[in-house]
Every structure is written in structure tokens, then in C-alpha cells.
């Protein structure tokens, strides 16, 4: 589904991703984990053209999408939920969802998609007229994910969805991610909570200093080197 070749990217003249190759297969959850500063978020931003790309290629369904304008990537079926949720706190839950739906012109389709979202996220229906600012952290994260799902993506990029969440909220968010994937949406997830991410992922890449240090399936957790270096506390 997505294939990255020899990618080098960063911010201004600071190179963060230093020649990275990886593949994310359609229908799978792909986890990207690694220590702070390894370039995990920058990798997702590179796909979404939110940082400087110096060289390399990013193929999505055989098409090189490198440096396509961010607003065009939605039309390719890619959605991105950035770190820190970024919901519109001055708007209600419903207005936030409508913001996600404005790629569609058809009002009926927008309403249908919002109703679909309410079926998948009943808590958002309950709170649809509340300002997003009044939601808990976990609910805001669900809203951010729901808002991106309203665009019917085939590939969902999630940057640290568990950031700052309570264990209970985190569990709920990860459960939703699995449900979304089961409905056919491919997911690439960048996570600090390595154990949780590996558990739900079909494929995991470990990023170190802007390059892939290791990749594998769930068995990667048992690798003693990985256990010591990256998952010290688990």
C-alpha cells in the first residue's frame, strides 16, 4: 500500500530521517516505535508533506506522492491524526466532525457519514452539542480519529494517539484503532507506548536515529536486545 524508498527528510537544514526504507501493507496495522528523537513523527509528517523532504520516494498504490500538497492527499484516501489531537476546542463535537467532512460537497453524504461516525463512536453522539474543549483527553482523541475517519480514508496515519491519556482512555483508543482496522482501513501508528503498539500491530518497525533499526511481527517484543534498549520498563 505504501512504500518508502531511501527517504531523507527533516526541518530546514536539520536532517531527521536519514535514508529510510519501509513498506506498509494494505489492511494491516503498521507500528513505528523507537526512542525519543528517532524521527517517528517526522516520518509520518514526511508522508503528509508537513516537513522538508530532501530525497527519496514515497509510493502510495504505485504512485509517487512525495511532496504532493497536504490538502490533496485526502483525495488519495490518506488521513492523518497529528500528535496532540488538535481538535477545534471552540467548536462543538458536531462542528468538528463537519470540519472533517468538508471534503464532500453533498450535504446528504456529510450527514450520512456523521451518522456512521455516531454509530461507531456513541460517546460522540451523546456529546455532539458540547464544545470539544469540555471533552476528556480520551474523548478528544476519539473525536480527532473520528474526524479523520469521516473522510472515508483507506490509510490512517496516527501520531502518538495515547499521548497524555489515562490507562483506561488509552485502552479505549487502542480498541477503537483495532475496530477501525477490522473495517478495512490500513493504519500506520507511531507510538511511545511500544508494548501496546506492537500488540495491536501486524508489522512493527523500530526506528533509530532516522533509520529502520529492526522490523518484524509481534515476536519483536521477545528480542532481548530490543527489550533492553527500547522497552526497558516493560
Amino acid at each position: 500500500m505504501i512504500k518508502i524508498e531511501k527517504l531523507q527528510s527533516g526541518y530546514n537544514k536539520t536532517k531527521i530521517i536519514k535514508g529510510l526504507d519501509m513498506v506498509a501493507v494494505a489492511g494491516e496495522i503498521t507500528a513505528i516505535i523507537g526512542p525519543n528523537g528517532a524521527g517517528k513523527s517526522t516520518l509520518l509528517k514526511s508522508v503528509f508533506n508537513l516537513c522538508d523532504i530532501y530525497s527519496g520516494k514515497i509510493f502510495y498504490k504505485e504512485e509517487n506522492i512525495k511532496k504532493l500538497p497536504t490538502h490533496d492527499l485526502i483525495n488519495f484516501g490518506i488521513s492523518y491524526v497529528p500528535q496532540g489531537r488538535q481538535v477545534f476546542t471552540n467548536m462543538t463535537v458536531k462542528e468538528n466532525l463537519e470540519m472533517g467532512a468538508f471534503v464532500f460537497k453533498d450535504k446528504e453524504l456529510i450527514n450520512k457519514n456523521i451518522e456512521d461516525i455516531y454509530r461507531k463512536f456513541p460517546i460522540l453522539k451523546q456529546k455532539q452539542n458540547q464544545d470539544a474543549a469540555t471533552l476528556s483527553g480520551g474523548q478528544q482523541q476519539l473525536l480527532a480519529i473520528a474526524r479523520s475517519l469521516i473522510q472515508n480514508p483507506q490509510l490512517l496515519l496516527l501520531d502518538e494517539p495515547s499521548l497524555g491519556l489515562s490507562p483506561k482512555a488509552m485502552k479505549e483508543v487502542f480498541k477503537k484503532i483495532q475496530e477501525i482496522n477490522k473495517e478495512g482501513v490500513s493504519v500506520i501508528i507511531v507510538e511511545q507506548n511500544a508494548k501496546k503498539a506492537v500488540e495491536i500491530a501486524d508489522r512493527t518497525y523500530i526506528l533509530e536515529n532516522g533509520k529502520i533499526a529492526l522490523s518484524g511481527g509481534k515476536e519483536i517484543l521477545k528480542n532481548p536486545k530490543i527489550k533492553n534498549i527500547y522497552f526497558g520498563g516493560i
Partner: protein
């Protein structure tokens, strides 16, 4: 009958209202810290004055004032698209200086510091607006239409997107909107109404010179928008009345004119300070200045 003085004040309120509502669209709703709004006002005033002085009918000049200002607004937004906050404020402030310098130095066109005199009162074809009472009626109609149009824009889905850009531009971009283009449109529409206000000013005073459009003129406009409240049109209306009328009693106290100006600025500054301290959202603002 309204006295000439009251009519004069109401005309000024009408012109200021259009100017402030248009700034509210760019600043309050889109989050563009545009300190160059006076430049659009100037462009509108000069465009309308120059066209009518060269024989173009008023109604055409009036609309051209808005259109030419909108073009400049679009160009300014296009060239400063990647700037935000303080940087955008400085760049747009610089634009005011550029327009001021052009008005002052391109004497063949603008008559420089001597200004343009004898700007005709509006002639709408079937009727001529000679009296100030009639001019007040014309300004009021224009202000009401401006309010309705800007209100329609901010209440529309497009207006919601503008507010979303103000709150979090990145979040809007990742949802599939070309925020650069939207900001260009917002500033162009904002500049259009500022140009219209400029035209109304030029044809009311019948004389304009560069000093009418110095960068200091942004202070009362900005004060009105902030005191009225960010992203509030009714707040802007109320603040326009309050801030235009508030310094008026100074005229009757007997201060010399050299004192009235600075005292007026002090009043605006005091109002701003009080608002920041006790009512950070302004009269009816949706977004806190904190």
C-alpha cells in the same frame, strides 16, 4: 431634525463600522493579524477619488474602490501566506508604509502631500447626494449591507473554516483544505470592504491626503475590534459606537486641538487595558485575548 454634528458623527460611525467589520473578518475570524488594513482603506479612497475626478461615474468608482483594494488584499495575502502572528503583523504594517509612501511620492498620480481636493459628492445617476443627511442614509445602507454580507460569510461553512484556520491552521490543512487559498480569499474580501469604506470617506470629506492614512490610524480600528471582541460582529458594532463617541465630550471641555488627539489615544489605550484586565474576550468575543 438631527443636528449637523450628530449627522457627522453617525456618518463617521458608519464608515468606521464597515472598516472594523472588515478587519474583524480577517483578524477575528481568520486570525490574520493584519496591521495593513488602513492601506486598503487608502487604496479605496484614492481609487474612488481618482476615478470620479477623471469623470468615471460614482457608482463605478465606488465598486472599483472595493475591487482594487480586494486585488491588493489578495496579493498581500499571497505574498505573506507563510507568515503568522508577529511576522505577519510586521509585514502588513510594512505594506501600510509602502502605500503611504506611494501616496506621498507618486505626485503625478496622487498629488503627493497636497492631496486630492474637490472630490465630488456621490452622484447615483437618478439622484445626487448633496446633503449630509442623505449621505448618512447612503452610508447607513452600505454599512447594513456590509454587515449582512460579512455576517452571511462568517455563518456559512466557509466562515466555520475561517475560524478553524484561526484556531489551528495545521488541523485544517490535514483535513484537506488549502488554507493558503482560503486566507487569500478572506483578506481579499476584508480588503474589499475596507476599500468601500475608503471610498465613502473620500466622497464625504471631499479631500484626501496621505496623512489621513498613516499607520497610527490602525490604532482606533484595532481597538474597536479587540474591545468589541474577537469573532463578534455585534461586539464590533457596539464598540464602534462606544469608541467613536467616547472621546467626543473632549471637544466641549475646551481642550486645545493639540491635546484632544493624544487624549483620544490615551482613552483607547485605557479601554484596551481595562478590557485586557477585566474582560479578555471583549464585549461579546468568542476567543480570549489571553
Amino acid at each position: 431634525m438631527l443636528s449637523a454634528y450628530i449627522i457627522h458623527l453617525l456618518i463617521l460611525i458608519g464608515i468606521y463600522l464597515i472598516l472594523c467589520l472588515s478587519l474583524q473578518l480577517a483578524l477575528g475570524y481568520t486570525g490574520l493579524l493584519n496591521l495593513g488594513h488602513i492601506a486598503f482603506y487608502a487604496i479605496g479612497a484614492y481609487t474612488s477619488a481618482l476615478l470620479t475626478l477623471s469623470g468615471v461615474p460614482f457608482i463605478v468608482s465606488f465598486l472599483m474602490a472595493g475591487i482594487v483594494s480586494a486585488l491588493f488584499g489578495y496579493l498581500l495575502a499571497f505574498s505573506t501566506n507563510k507568515l503568522k502572528g508577529d511576522y505577519l503583523a510586521l509585514a502588513t504594517l510594512g505594506f501600510t508604509f509602502v502605500i503611504y509612501a506611494i501616496a506621498l511620492n507618486w505626485t503625478d498620480l496622487t498629488n503627493g502631500a497636497l492631496g486630492l481636493a474637490g472630490i465630488p459628492k456621490p452622484d447615483l445617476g437618478i439622484l445626487q447626494i448633496k446633503s449630509n443627511a442623505f449621505y448618512l442614509f447612503f452610508v447607513s445602507i452600505t454599512a447594513v449591507f456590509s454587515y449582512l454580507i460579512i455576517n452571511k460569510i462568517v455563518k456559512s461553512p466557509f466562515g466555520k473554516v475561517l475560524e478553524a484556520i484561526r484556531d489551528d491552521e495545521l488541523a485544517v490543512r490535514i483535513l484537506g483544505k488549502n488554507t493558503f487559498k482560503i486566507k487569500n480569499y478572506s483578506l481579499a474580501v476584508s480588503a474589499f470592504f475596507a476599500g468601500i469604506a475608503g471610498s465613502l470617506y473620500a466622497h464625504y470629506i471631499t479631500f484626501i491626503d496621505p496623512s489621513s492614512f498613516g499607520f497610527m490610524q490602525i490604532i482606533p480600528i484595532l481597538s474597536i475590534v479587540i474591545i468589541g471582541g474577537i469573532a463578534s460582529l455585534r461586539g464590533t458594532v457596539l464598540a464602534t459606537f462606544v469608541l467613536v463617541l467616547l472621546p467626543e465630550p473632549l471637544r466641549f471641555i475646551g481642550f486645545p486641538s493639540s491635546v484632544v488627539g493624544p487624549v483620544r489615544q490615551i482613552i483607547y489605550a485605557l479601554m484596551l487595558l481595562l478590557i485586557l484586565m477585566y474582560r479578555p474576550k471583549g464585549f461579546y468575543g468568542k476567543v480570549s485575548l489571553e
